[in-house]
Symmetry: C2
Amino acid sequence: MGGDYAPANEVAGAVQSLRQSHNEFEVILVGKEEEIRRQLDAHHAQGLSYSVVHADEVIEMDDSPNAALKQKKNSSLAIGVQLHKEGKADAFASIGNTGAVLSASTLILGRIKGVSRPTIGAFFPSETGVCLLVDAGTNVDCRAQHLYEFAVMGSIYAKRVFKYENPKVGLLSIGEEKIKGSEVVQEAHKILESSNLNFIGNVEGRDILKGKAQVVVCDGFVGNVVLKFGESIPGFMKAKLKQYAGGSIWRKLLIGLARGSLRASLREMDYEEFGGVPVLGVNGVSIIGHGGSSPKAIKNMILKAAEVAQSQINKYIEEAMASSLVGQRARHGATLVHTQ
Amino acid sequence: MGGDYAPANEVAGAVQSLRQSHNEFEVILVGKEEEIRRQLDAHHAQGLSYSVVHADEVIEMDDSPNAALKQKKNSSLAIGVQLHKEGKADAFASIGNTGAVLSASTLILGRIKGVSRPTIGAFFPSETGVCLLVDAGTNVDCRAQHLYEFAVMGSIYAKRVFKYENPKVGLLSIGEEKIKGSEVVQEAHKILESSNLNFIGNVEGRDILKGKAQVVVCDGFVGNVVLKFGESIPGFMKAKLKQYAGGSIWRKLLIGLARGSLRASLREMDYEEFGGVPVLGVNGVSIIGHGGSSPKAIKNMILKAAEVAQSQINKYIEEAMASSLVGQRARHGATLVHTQ
């Protein structure tokens, strides 16, 4: 119920996902039942494998996440995550208030053992395939250990969901040499170097779209700025082309003819194709989409949630964290000896 | 002598700048005299207002800035900046090692009184005109006071060189509310709010190309990542269009026809048009261009250097720093009273 066009786009997307997958899974629609059923009727949804669970309240986009979760116990968000917690659903997906989805997922589902901070990544197109940038805005002031954990979780996601065999992990910095970057980044470089990830060293801003790495690690401040900058490019291109086309009929004609091609090429920079991003590090599958998602984006998000639920990534994350904790202890031990 | 194609592109650019400006200024070419004169001959430069000052050594792109400045006392870079220091030149411009240009400018020219850290910005195209992002990679770990100084210097540059009447200053963050962002950014927000700049509050990554502010303030880590990400977009677009065009003859034809229009629209994202960025906060005019600059980019850089030299921005920066120091003291005083 938290999206910008709720529940119209949510229901439309759910219906599309069930039609496309031939009812391979069931969608539980959580929210104001009457409104949801009205939308279902409009889409002639009979015969599809859905159910509706009523929820009285809605957490709005501008609600403060933690306060809203306390005050609105019967929000569609809280009830939805709770259904997942109780095993009545195998995954949860929402296009509502991102902070509230993150908080609800962390509080209700709990963190995976060994994870200090759950994180949300973002997908970027690249010349060599999709790239996961993690963190994309959740954790602003990070320590090196947090960046390392993002790398572990991102790498497992890239391997298990994107099916990259041995995903390359890059650390976002401002130069390739390991002495480049902020103090935290330099420290993270050392940890990543001694890890068993496929760490290719520092990558720069220009390497994201080039696809130099399949997982790019950064703090949530940098990640969020790059993500939003990237999202603004198609709009900027359109504005510039329009301006330029205004200069002559001939230009207008040429750009008009090539419009379809341009749109197809820009499509990859469009979040709608990726179908939401996962909250990594919580005991469950929680997927977050853009508040303004179209039905198609929501369809993709639901299909993605089903895929992630089947990938068992959390089992792999827990294993990796357990072995990296051992690694951490060993390294700490070594450091202590060294400083004596 | 420090550029990727030195001194060929440097000389070609200098010759173009003199032809375009009808010898309105003089260019002093500093470097290996014989090589430079050979290039000048190739361009039939007789009659143009240039001179050549010989310099034996070259600071290379991969030299460590400070070590190179100590060891190579007769580098073209050191001698060039020294000429400016001695008043024999009104501005200095280079496309060599950025770190070394910054160090030489800071060490030889000195900092403007009241400036803690000289900074280098970057220009972005936007829907409403050019935008100055500052810092673009010079100062990685920043305190709030540094961000404030970047804002002051950027604002003066935007006003005096870009001729924006009352440039809007935005603080790059991950949300519009003042409580969004890292601790340093939240602190900088408070300082900027109480300053006499035209501060419009936080801006997000998506607001840069939209042109919401003419000056966008951030630390050098974030700035450098966004800058390099932006620079990679035209290449990515080309690769994607090529891939897409490969799908059919018809698409290939359409994209081929529209190529000129596309290129013209993308041109604004190309650093060549902006002609180098200034080192802000040093006692002099020091402009840095991209190491791989074409002759045209170098021509624009030299024209820009002449323009900046005439703008007297340093006088305005010194005045602003003096009055903001007073402001700082006043604020500190207020804080002391408050905590008693």
